[in-house]
């Protein structure tokens, strides 16, 4: 996986043309709510389980 592939996949998923430039102050105030973190952890655990076919 290259940096370009990673960025490309993220932009494709979010239907964006380029990476947004966000204000640090906004982000630093941002707390990740429990339900979002729970969703993230669940996906992380499931991704170790799901096996895509690869190339």
């Amino acid at each position: 996986v290259t940096e370009e592939q990673l960025l490309g996949s993220l932009l494709q998923r979010l239907h964006l043309r380029e990476a947004p430039v966000l204000d640090r102050a906004n982000v630093e105030r941002l707390a990740i709510p429990a339900h979002v973190r729970a969703q993230y952890v669940a996906l992380l655990q499931r991704s170790h389980g799901d096996r895509s076919r690869g190339k």
Partner: protein, 288 residues
């Protein structure tokens, strides 16, 4: 039958309707564990058609279509077939006819029931379906249709497999040993530091980085006679055969507010490296 490194299996003739035959091959221990099936060939011996019958043939019907299907018998007794191979055979010819049944053996492997035999249904049809009557295809006879147990010309299954001890990957690389030209295909740690990427700043909140892994090393190539038999196969390469997705948390700006969102990125982490040939058919998945 004639070579040490080809495994052949003699089959048994089970039942026959006019132009449909069911073959049974015992498969137990035919394919060693940790081996990769590269090709399976079904060999049927076509008997010569009696000359008198040949003379009565109309010029339009000198060939017949032989079709091989894999027969799957479910636990509830129902069964279904999958088309595996078919080819035209000439009524004027006789001898061994070969069919590629690799996919049937792949399906049998996916069943995960080594003691269950491989069932192949052979049907012989007219070359040209259509309203005009023709029974020329009934003249196609295979050796097993003669006296049972005669022992000659029984259907045979050739299995060509590579031992993955020699031709496969070795799992994860030895982190102590440097990767050299002689290193066998393996999965090597590769960490992607998202915090070091300018575009991710203030945008990707989690993870700060992740182990993506990569496949390195080389694969041993099959011996020459094998490759000459499969000209369409490229060299065996070390590739990522199983991938996993990567969830990330990004900050999204909507209506003047910033909120976190989880996104899953497919095929971002290598789970397994394997040796595979470019051009090798990807086995169809068995439907549940």
């Amino acid at each position: 039958r004639f070579s040490q490194n080809f495994r052949e299996v003699a089959g048994r003739f089970l039942v026959s309707e006019a132009d449909r035959h069911l073959l049974v091959f015992g498969m137990e221990q035919r394919l060693p564990p940790n081996s990769e099936l590269v090709q399976a060939v079904l060999r049927l011996f076509q008997e010569p058609v009696p000359k008198a019958a040949l003379h009565r043939l109309s010029p339009r019907s000198t060939r017949a279509l032989v079709t091989i299907e894999w027969l799957r018998v479910r636990d509830d007794g129902s069964n279904r077939t999958s088309l595996i191979d078919s080819r035209l055979v000439s009524l004027h010819e006789s001898g061994w006819k070969t069919f590629d049944v690799t996919e049937a053996v792949n399906f049998w492997q996916q069943l995960g029931r080594p003691r269950q035999p491989l069932l192949l249904q052979v049907s012989v049809q007219r070359e040209h379906p259509g309203p005009q009557p023709s029974s020329a295809h009934k003249l196609v006879r295979f050796a097993w249709q003669g006296t049972p147990g005669a022992g000659h010309g029984e259907p045979q299954l050739e299995l060509h497999a590579l031992d993955l001890e020699d031709y496969g990957a070795q799992g994860d690389c030895d982190s102590e040993a440097p990767v050299t030209k002689g290193t066998r295909c393996c999965r090597q740690e590769m960490y992607i530091d998202l915090q070091g990427m300018k575009w991710a700043e203030n945008w990707v909140l989690e993870p700060p980085g992740f182990l993506a892994y990569e496949c390195v090393g080389t694969c041993q190539q099959p011996p020459d006679p094998l490759t000459s038999k499969w000209p369409f196969l490229g060299p065996r390469q070390c590739i990522a055969s199983e991938m996993a997705s990567l969830p990330v948390i990004v900050s999204i700006q909507e209506g003047g507010r910033t909120r976190p969102q989880v996104v899953s990125l497919p095929n971002m982490r290598v789970q397994k490296c394997s040796c595979a040939s470019d051009g090798a058919p990807m086995p169809r998945r068995l439907e549940p």
